[in-house]
Amino acid sequence: MTDDVRADLTNRARKLLSDNDPATCERLKFLRAQFDLGLAWVHYPKGLGGLGLPRAFQNYVDELLAKAGAPDNDPLRNSVGLGMAAPTIVEFGSQEQQSRFLRPLWTAEELWCQLFSEPEAGSDLAGLATRAVRDGDEWIVNGQKVWTSGAHKAKWAILIARTNPDAPKHAGLTYFVCDMTVPGVDVRPLRQITGEAEFNEVFLTDVRIPDCNRIAAEGQGWQVATATLNNERLAIGDSQIPREGGMIGVVAQTWRNNPTRRTPDLHDRLMQLWVEAEVMRLTGIRLRQKLAAGQPGPEGSAMKLNFARVAQRLTGLELEILADDGLRYADWTMRRPELVNLTGGDAGYRYLRAKGNSIEGGTSEILRNVIAERVLNMPPEPRQDKNIPWKELPR
């Protein structure tokens, strides 16, 4: 960071703090002012909450503001908005869309969810069947989506739908922003193996979306969705944590708190995972240094895959360390969690919830394909579904 940039960021932060004293200023007013000064996400363009600086410089701003007791935008509540919708809108949205959506997204006035997966289109997302049919200045959408976390709280959704069934599967898709509060959107909780319902099924019946909420061109949906998913995988696998942060920290603490339960076998497995967690942390640092200014590529898939594998092994080990106590489960009651905290709950919850890590946001198997084909440039499996019209595919 040059001295000029540091001075500019410092001045902006000072101005923000002096115009909006965190002790007295209303939270939303502060966040809006932070956005308007370009201190929301400095790597995004000027006027969109950023300053066109390298991604890593945000840390500097966040530290300054945190020291002054500034409020944050509660990022865990809006991870789909921040991690997926925002970068997609920045890259592919029109100017009008950018100025309409990004500010209330960042301040969490409007929460977002994702309408991608369908019961018949999971890993094969490009085969999805939700239809959007043009009707004047609007699109009429019908279909069923699934695994939609936060749908019951979201104002907006990023949606992929099929607009041209005569085109091959990847070419007939279009990307929309869908208002979750309009008639025809029916959100139903989907209970999962932990007992609770983080996710939803979303039924779309004659939902009307104005054409101005289409992102990028008709038929370009797959390309836009790929960018979204790369960002999602980066966001999942790339959280910046200190040594022994995240799941390894939880399990290491369990080890320290339970001296009577220690065995050599458990210890060796713990140390192997400690090493893997530390190496994963270093790999994330190295990846961030490489990408400091660039866009996430398929390398993010490697982080996500590793994250899932290590989390699953750690949570399994923790149950074994706790032994009989590990078999006590807090609560099977059906409930809707406010926030998803992968390291929260008890050990049994963590074990079960971690099973989702290798499924959500692209299964580990699909991510291995992505790495093999886009990073290692290995040839694809022979496929029959790529070049024929979607409507002729066997179903």
Partner: protein
């Protein structure tokens, strides 16, 4: 406990232009002078060209004194440059004593303030070897030699880098702790051992009856040997990284041309997934090895932890990469003709050298306060 010492977000893990240019230089030389054919012949007892190769690297490229400060005639470079060098030496399975002499040997001599010997080592006139069994890692030194006056008695088995060495540094169990003696290799009986990895051939050293010079003793000797072994472990991770990268690359290349069942076999998902997993391991190994090198270069408080993490992790990655290389090449991978066996033998030997993964995890358990009992 320094559990919070890792401020590693600031540490640069990428390669600098200087490091890349050093890599290019080393790589260009090894491409010409270190072919699989030459390496294969070493296993048949023909070491033609290996002395000359080391001399070129050590003297002409100045790698013998890479880590030696300029005031003692070295290049004054850091562990980062040594690490990049080792990546290339690993990639080519180079049969040269860089790690044992230019890393371990010069580190001991520098910390022992043996400036005369350090100068000779820096210019490549003298190749140095710390006489410890190759599996010795930080904290694992067991002295097998005793001294009466300056006359030594005992044998050190399975020493790497001894055959090439002119100067041997012998750890001795003294009355007040560790003593470190120096002697000319010609005065000891150095017996070559037929080794799993003949590109880093082991030797047994018998120093019984040999008169040697006491360099350093007590806590200072312990510290010098410990630091050298930490550097050895931390930097061997880069050799393992280079080897693993090479195994991944040639396996990907091979599966991209080999046809069976009317298809390029690399299009089979079962094989792609194995290579994707290996790719992730190699990328992870890179981060671990770079961090170890960077903390050594900065003399960072985290260097012991970083070295233990890197050696524990990269050891198994290199072995996995070499084993996958053999398996995924099918029958050809099992032949003497194909270089896969060279990678496998080096990878397995490296895994055990300077502390096996389990030994490093045991060190870590203490460093990060996760006691076994």
């Amino acid at each position: 406990m320094e559990r919070a010492a890792a401020v590693s977000e600031e540490i640069e893990l990428s390669y600098s232009d200087v490091e890349e240019s050093l890599r290019d230089t080393v790589q260009a030389l090894l491409r010409k002078r270190c072919s699989p054919e030459i390496l294969g012949r070493i296993f048949d007892g023909d070491r033609t060209g290996t002395t000359e190769l080391w001399r070129t690297l050590a003297v002409d490229l100045g790698l013998a004194g890479l880590l030696v400060p300029e005031q003692f005639g070295g290049a004054g470079a850091t562990a980062r440059e040594a690490a990049v060098t080792l990546e290339e030496l690993g990639r080519f399975v180079a049969p040269v004593p860089f790690l044992t002499s230019a890393v371990v040997g010069t580190t001991v001599l520098r910390l022992a303030d043996a400036t005369d010997l350090l100068g000779s080592a820096a210019c490549g006139d003298v190749t140095v070897c710390l006489a410890v069994p190759v599996s010795t890692g930080p904290g694992g030194l067991v002295e097998t030699v005793t001294a009466a006056g300056n006359v030594l008695h005992g044998i050190v088995r399975n020493v790497a880098g001894a055959l090439e060495a002119d100067l041997l540094l012998i750890p001795v169990a003294g009355q007040d702790g560790l003593e470190l003696y120096a002697l000319h290799a010609d005065s000891a009986r150095v017996t070559p051992v037929v080794s799993l990895d003949m590109t880093r051939q082991l030797a047994d050293i018998d120093v019984t009856g040999v008169t040697a010079r006491l360099l350093i003793s007590g806590g200072a000797a312990e510290a010098a040997v410990h630091r050298a072994l930490v550097a050895a472990a931390g930097l061997m991770a880069s050799e393992q990284l280079g080897l693993a990268r090479q195994c991944l690359q040639i396996t990907v290349d091979y599966l991209g041309v080999r046809r069976q069942f009317g298809r390029i076999v690399g299009s089979f998902q079962a094989l792609k997934h194995r290579l994707s997993d290996l790719y992730i391991e190699v990328e992870s190994a890179c981060a671990a090895a770079r961090y170890a090198a960077a903390t050594l270069a900065d003399d960072h408080a985290d260097q012991e932890t970083a070295a233990a993490v890197a050696k524990a992790y990269c050891s198994d990655v290199a072995v996995h990469a070499a084993e996958e290389c053999v398996q995924l090449h099918g029958g050809i991978g099992m032949t003497w003709e194909h270089p896969a066996h060279l990678y496998l033998k080096r990878a397995k030997a490296d895994q055990i050298a300077f502390g096996a993964p389990g030994a490093h995890r045991a060190l870590l358990a203490v460093l990060v306060d996760l006691p076994v009992r």
